[in-house]
Symmetry: D2
Amino acid sequence: MQIDLNCDMGESFGRWELGEDEAVLAVVTSANIASGFHAGDPLVIQRTVELAARRQVAIGAHPSYPDLQGFGRREMNLSFDEVEAMILYQVSALAGFCRAEGVELVHVKPHGALYNQAAKDLHLAQAIARGVKRFSPQLILVGLAGSALIEAGLSNNLRVAREGFPDRAYEPDGSLRPRRLPGAVLESTIDVCAQAVRLASQGIHVTRVNGESTIPVDTLCIHGDHPGAALRAAAVRSALEEKGIEVGSLIG
Amino acid sequence: MQIDLNCDMGESFGRWELGEDEAVLAVVTSANIASGFHAGDPLVIQRTVELAARRQVAIGAHPSYPDLQGFGRREMNLSFDEVEAMILYQVSALAGFCRAEGVELVHVKPHGALYNQAAKDLHLAQAIARGVKRFSPQLILVGLAGSALIEAGLSNNLRVAREGFPDRAYEPDGSLRPRRLPGAVLESTIDVCAQAVRLASQGIHVTRVNGESTIPVDTLCIHGDHPGAALRAAAVRSALEEKGIEVGSLIG
Amino acid sequence: MQIDLNCDMGESFGRWELGEDEAVLAVVTSANIASGFHAGDPLVIQRTVELAARRQVAIGAHPSYPDLQGFGRREMNLSFDEVEAMILYQVSALAGFCRAEGVELVHVKPHGALYNQAAKDLHLAQAIARGVKRFSPQLILVGLAGSALIEAGLSNNLRVAREGFPDRAYEPDGSLRPRRLPGAVLESTIDVCAQAVRLASQGIHVTRVNGESTIPVDTLCIHGDHPGAALRAAAVRSALEEKGIEVGSLIG
Amino acid sequence: MQIDLNCDMGESFGRWELGEDEAVLAVVTSANIASGFHAGDPLVIQRTVELAARRQVAIGAHPSYPDLQGFGRREMNLSFDEVEAMILYQVSALAGFCRAEGVELVHVKPHGALYNQAAKDLHLAQAIARGVKRFSPQLILVGLAGSALIEAGLSNNLRVAREGFPDRAYEPDGSLRPRRLPGAVLESTIDVCAQAVRLASQGIHVTRVNGESTIPVDTLCIHGDHPGAALRAAAVRSALEEKGIEVGSLIG
């Protein structure tokens, strides 16, 4: 049994710093690096790629809608052609920094509102998958387990990684409990660790009127932008390894 | 005898259109495509790369300071590390669109204020050359003939292309006559054509107290953002070919 | 009988030019000036306010979502607090240029996707109205006739101006015929002039199961960003005046 | 004897937070609020204006070059017309939020590279002063004591406030010791407090070949963007008051 731990990073911009990238990189196995549209200017990208490469953490692009002010978290309504080109632009930029460091770009995980909209909108998800594939059919597309983005990746013959969230509650139908509802976010490290083990070992349980099923999970999302992020990431990793779950990257 | 004709293009942005790219592409042999920092959103880049590829025109990146409002024409004061990273970012993005179209990225020509400052500031020019080389040592760096940018390219073991301006007057010392002086810009197509032939066949004459010399010219800049640009480009090409000067790209 | 003719303008940005502002200003009575978020840098705003002031055309702010690349035409999902603050920011900026020219800011007309979303979403429309009112309760809020934006203006005790579109077909229920349907845009100048006269003199006819009604129209939108815009604007004005409809600004 | 204490604030942007504005506002008498071009989106501006108004701290605009990525700290080369319009735009925006809160905009202090360049370049300084004056001749222009910006303010009949830096060493000629030289920045709170008292009570000593003179100081700059900023500000204020120097705003 193996699981990947991924974390968004490189989300500083110019004078503004965010995240505990160095500390988190000591724990995770995949780094989703902001690609300049919601965060991450060229210098930030360079430093983050260097840090991740030194730690031998697998590097992915973390493309977003073009929205610095909203940190890529605001839904936008772009044409599918534009989404495809926007993905290709950001993935290409990230890949160039990897090339300069002598490492491979391994995966692509859309950010924020783009990720959330693509979980439900198959047309949008297809545009993302096409953009990824145009750069390279070898890239792994990371999306919410059970979502339209995973479906779009598969139908474009891309490798996919199904993502689970150790710090979010799941509904009986396998969807994430909406943040506005009570209990949506698991607060205690113990609960988060327990859910991480459950997701890695059993996947997501889905109960529907016509029966039960399970969605496997390939990678767990570690949130890196709050205080104590690195400590919690370490706790999650430790809990997984104690249960005999190997923590390794998607290409490990 | 052979000369390259290059033109900046892809300088539209969103709703705003600029240039006669399609018509100019029928004439020139190299296209410097705006890379998103002074002009050129991802969709514009994609369309321009497609057009150039279809015409078999050699494609180059046209990186700039991050300044949409000033169209990259305003001097800025960035750290050299930032310039290097900014070049790598933009070159990588352009290269990704080329890769998606199945063509090679051939050259890099800095835009506007960056080009002008790098003609004189060797430290800045070195930062640009390092950024280009980090992406690929095979890329050709295009700079003003006789400038610090050419020097920086050579000292970084990059191939360089020395650029001449058919529509600009040259001073006896081989520098461009400053635009604020009378006669700096050649207005008539006849004069422009004659100077194109002269630059291609003889290079730039330099008269100094200690003697005369010549700076060879590898590529001629065609300005594409004014009305009638494509017609004048055709006149220049025709004049060159009539004199037996072959027009071909830098890798032709 | 009187009607206002309004036109969006000042939609250039840096190197990129758009519209026939000078020619259109000779015809219209209200100018909606782009306020920097979808178009209009400070120099463009200054020139446009000067031009409008010289022609004694009533000046309005034309605030937008922050989206230069999409020209404010892409739906975005901002919090209502953010919309209110964004409106106040842009209206204040425009008002400052008016103050410097010694003229009044008369009205506010939201741009693009913000206008369209606010026509249907009363919560969004209320946020816009609050932003306008916070700057000054004397400002006139311009919105689609019969829309939520007009309702929000009225419930905030703002003066409102109900806008009609001479070049767009209306559905029997008084709504604009969606652009994707055939016949949505009136192409001929004759049809546009006839509809302008109809809207100014009779308003918009509304047929519902429970009877017929009419929505009065206070201002007609002249599109200024296509070739021939000024000529068509002149034709519309001429047609109105021939029918005895006085063309004058909202404060005329 | 009276002195103003001013601090830059409102320098967060979207997701990125910076500064200890609330704590600093309890100590200073003037707030220079980022106006959107180097930091400060509309929501941040609104919150900061509200906080300052509640504390009855005098509010100023803090306009900058348009450069989020460089935080307004990179020199740029804009035309003087553009600088004037850019100042008017930002000052107007800030003034609108003040108006909405029912308070006055008191002063304008340029930010970062614009401040530094305007200290030496009288033409640039004049453009800034014209922009300020176009909004209102009642505004106070804050600039480096002894600089071209103060000169430009006076020659435009603006009230000016001459700024001193408690945490920076001064050269014998009255200029700030360049940051790259040793001892340029005073590190200890004791030294900073002593210099604050000296600047407030005696001004800046200037020794030239032709004699000695003194430049009076009207306002002291408190840096707010490093940890412990509020504590140090309190120490400075306390030191001043102990020496019988009244701390009050420029309009106090």
